[in-house]
Every structure is written in structure tokens, then in C-alpha cells.
């Protein structure tokens, strides 16, 4: 009997909704209760420093190139010792889509995503973050990493004293 199975289906549906009336709501009452985002949640972008306190960013433009919405711009400059840095660095968070491509592209792990998702502003121009807004005093998610210990030959330490580097070979000593 099709009609009996139809009625049974109706009653089953009504019973399910009846049970759900007494179930705890899954709602999180946002401004009062907040859920803790996971550590790898992608929200506000920061620029980190290496363990020695120097800026990690070498202004290579890779994040800017990876950005699908073109919200990152910077101007590179060079110190007297040859260490590159960003003269100014700007992220327009009103355009940012928080895809995390910039953090993936970064060769020095300078640009990183944080779980801080509450960056609403009254004025849209306040969402344009300059370098001083972005730079934090910390290493972010990679506490021990210092780019110049692995590369950047001869910039912060003499040649041959990097982490995976052998001392330079004296080419003349190799002569037969």
C-alpha cells in the first residue's frame, strides 16, 4: 500500500523534527561566546621577525606575486651590509581573501597567517595595514628559523659559517 508508506514517511519526518525541538542549539552567541579557532586558522596576516630580532622579510615580492587579489604591495631596499628589507609594506585587508598563498610563497617564512579574525573597522581606510601595523615582535609559527643562517651568503655572518654551509674551498689549495 503506497498510501500507508507515504503516511509513515510523514509521521517519521514529524517525529524527527519533534525530537530536534528539544535538542541543544548549536548556535554560538558570537559577541558573548567565541569559539577558539584552530592554530592554523587563516585570518589577519603578520610579518614576523627571526630569533635574533631582525626582520625576516627580504622584500622579494613573491607574496605580492602569489596574491590572487593583488592586495600586497611593498618597496624593497637594501642595508649597508647587503641585507634586503621592505622600505614600506602594505596589505589592504579590505581586498584580502585570506587564502594564505602569500604565506605559502614566502621563502623566509616572514609573512604568516594568524587566527585573529576580528578585524572589523568603521572606516574602510583603516583596513589598509602598513608595515608598522603588520610587523610583530616574535617568530610566529616557526620559532627557530632564521633565513640568513641558511642562505644569504655573507650578509649576516662570514662566508662558510652558515648552518648547512661548508667553509669555502681554497681553490688554489686544490691545485695539483
Amino acid at each position: 500500500m503506497k498510501i500507508l508508506s507515504d503516511i509513515a514517511a510523514l509521521v517519521t519526518g514529524m517525529w524527527i523534527t519533534w525530537k530536534h525541538i528539544f535538542r541543544r542549539p548549536v548556535t554560538i552567541q558570537y559577541p558573548e561566546e567565541k569559539r577558539t579557532p584552530y592554530p592554523r586558522y587563516r585570518a589577519r596576516i603578520v610579518l614576523t621577525r627571526d630569533p635574533d630580532g631582525g626582520e625576516r622579510c627580504v622584500a622579494c615580492q613573491l607574496c605580492s606575486g602569489a596574491c590572487p587579489v593583488d592586495c600586497i604591495t611593498m618597496q624593497s631596499a637594501e642595508d649597508k651590509d647587503g641585507r634586503r628589507y621592505a622600505e614600506w609594506f602594505r596589505i589592504n585587508f579590505s581586498r584580502c581573501i585570506f587564502c594564505g598563498f602569500c604565506a605559502e610563497a614566502c621563502p623566509t617564512l616572514a609573512i604568516q597567517m594568524t587566527p585573529d579574525f576580528e578585524i572589523c573597522k568603521r572606516d574602510i581606510m583603516d583596513l589598509v595595514y602598513e608595515k608598522e601595523d603588520l610587523l610583530i615582535d616574535g617568530c610566529g609559527k616557526s620559532p627557530d628559523y632564521n633565513y640568513y643562517r641558511h642562505a644569504g651568503i655573507g650578509v649576516t655572518q662570514p662566508r662558510g659559517s652558515g648552518a648547512e654551509e661548508k667553509p669555502p674551498v681554497d681553490v688554489r689549495g686544490l691545485l695539483p
Partner: protein, 330 residues
Amino acid sequence: MIYDPIDIALLLGKIALVFFVILTLAAYLVFAERKVLAWIQDRKGPNRVGPFGLLQPLADLIKLLTKEDFRPIGADKWLFYLAPAMAAIPAIMIFAIVPFGAPLTLFGHTVQLQVSDLNVGLLLFMALSSVAVYGVALGGWASNSKYALLGSIRGLAQLISYELSMGLSLVPVVMLARSFRLSDIVNAQAGCWFIVYQPLAFMIFLISIAAECKRIPFDLPEAEGELVAGFHTEYSGMRFGLFFVGEYINIIVLGGLATTFFLGGWHGPFLPPAVWFSAKVLAFAFLFIWVRGTLPRLRYDQLMHFGWKILTPLALVNILVTGWWLVLRG
């Protein structure tokens, strides 16, 4: 008939009471609907305005009153302005014939707790419920919008499908009570509610009133998701509010009528009659909200098919069986 000033004052008092209660209840029914639907969907519902969100209807009212009163280009001005009233007023008028409590004695006068005890009350209900659909039809026609027009066409098609079975499902009630007067129908159920004798007629009436107040399995004239908002797509502000509140008044009124016809009206043990009546009406309102949270919308042709090929023949057979039974019982 002698017009005693106290009688007139009592009558006006009853009208004011009915208006106040119905309109307040309709506003809070909107709130209750949002709450219950939210619970069904594991949400919390409106809870920001006032304690537990209880002032939400007030906030909604302020919002509706301060919105722009918009009329589309090419709309038929007078019909466009008339339609919301046509939807809301018949709904309130039907309540005039519903007895909502046992007769009281005040100042030496017997007061029927019913605005008007017409001897053709049931027929007046049928007439007014047909008038109510004019609001839908005119609103959709006058809006000069294709969605609104489609909604009102569906409303009319729906009307001819359910109105017949609704009328036929009430015939056994009249046969049992031997009267069109609603107070007689209620008194005939003092011993045993008609739902016991007429479960089939009750089911047909229930389905028909769900279609009558355009609730979810039969909300074809509105059909948000298909027709934007159906017949009231182009309405804004308090005109939309009138359509909206009219729909909820309809729920209360039709719940009241279903109570009167099948659930013994205000009859019930222990509690005061008015309390019994409101409890039954609110149970109907809850049932409609619950059904809305459960069932999907029927298709236009499914409703017509269901109305004409199932409900109407069933109602006719039910009338015949009731007649035989009444004759055999003598």
C-alpha cells in the same frame, strides 16, 4: 429587539477585546513561529530584543512602519492599496462568529462570549474565507509583476481545489449538530467531540485549512524560492505587514474554527472554558508551525490533483456514510 446601552457597551467591549487579543496573538505567533522553527533547526531564534527576545514583534512593527511605502511603476494604484486590507479584514471578521467561551452573566445580562451568534455562522465563514483570497488575487494582479501574478494565479487555482473539500467536510458537522449556528455546534459537542464521530472529515478540514491559510505544504502563492515572495513580492512596509499579519490571524481564526467544529469548542473538564479554547487554538497553531518545519512544498498540479481526486471524493463518501449512519440510528 431592544437595544439596551449595557448590551451595546458589552458588545463593543467584546469587539475591542477580540481585536486586541487577535492582533497581539498574531504578532506573537510570528515570534513563536520563528522560535519553534529555530528550535527544530537546532538554532536559538530571535533572542536579542528584550528578555528571551520577547519584544521582537514590537521591533518588527517599528521596522515595518518606518519602511518606505513603495508602489511599482504600472501598478494599479487603488487595487494595489486595497489588496492588503482585503487579505487581513475578512480574516478578522471570521472571528466574529467563533464562540470562545461559555456564556457569562455580567450586570444581570447573559453575555455570549462570541461577537455575533449568527444562525448562518458556518455559511458566513465559507463566504468570508472565499473573499480572503481576493486579497491574494488582487495584490498579485495589481502589482504589475510576473512573480506576483504567478503567485496570485496559483492562489486562485488553490482556492478552487481546497474550498470545495473544506465545505464538504463541514457538511457532516452540520448533519450531526443540525444547525449552522456555531454556538449550537459547540453545545452539540458537550458530551462527545465530533472528531470522534468524524475523524476523516477532521483530517480533510485540517488539510484544507492548511491550504486556506497558505501554510507550508500548500504555500504555493508565496513560494519563496520559486516566486521571490509570490503575490506580495512588490509590497513593502506596513502593506506587506498587513498581508503577513493577515496570514497569522488566519491561522488563529481557522484554528479556532477547527476547534469549534471538531474539538468541542470551549468544552473541557476542570479548566475555565476560555482557557480550553485558547489551548486548543494554540495547539493548532503549534501544529501548523511544526508541519512547516517538516514538510516540503507541494507542486501546483499535485495540490490540484490531491484536492480534486482525493479530498473531494473522500468528503462526499464521508457525507453519504454519515447520512446512512444517522438514518440507521434514527
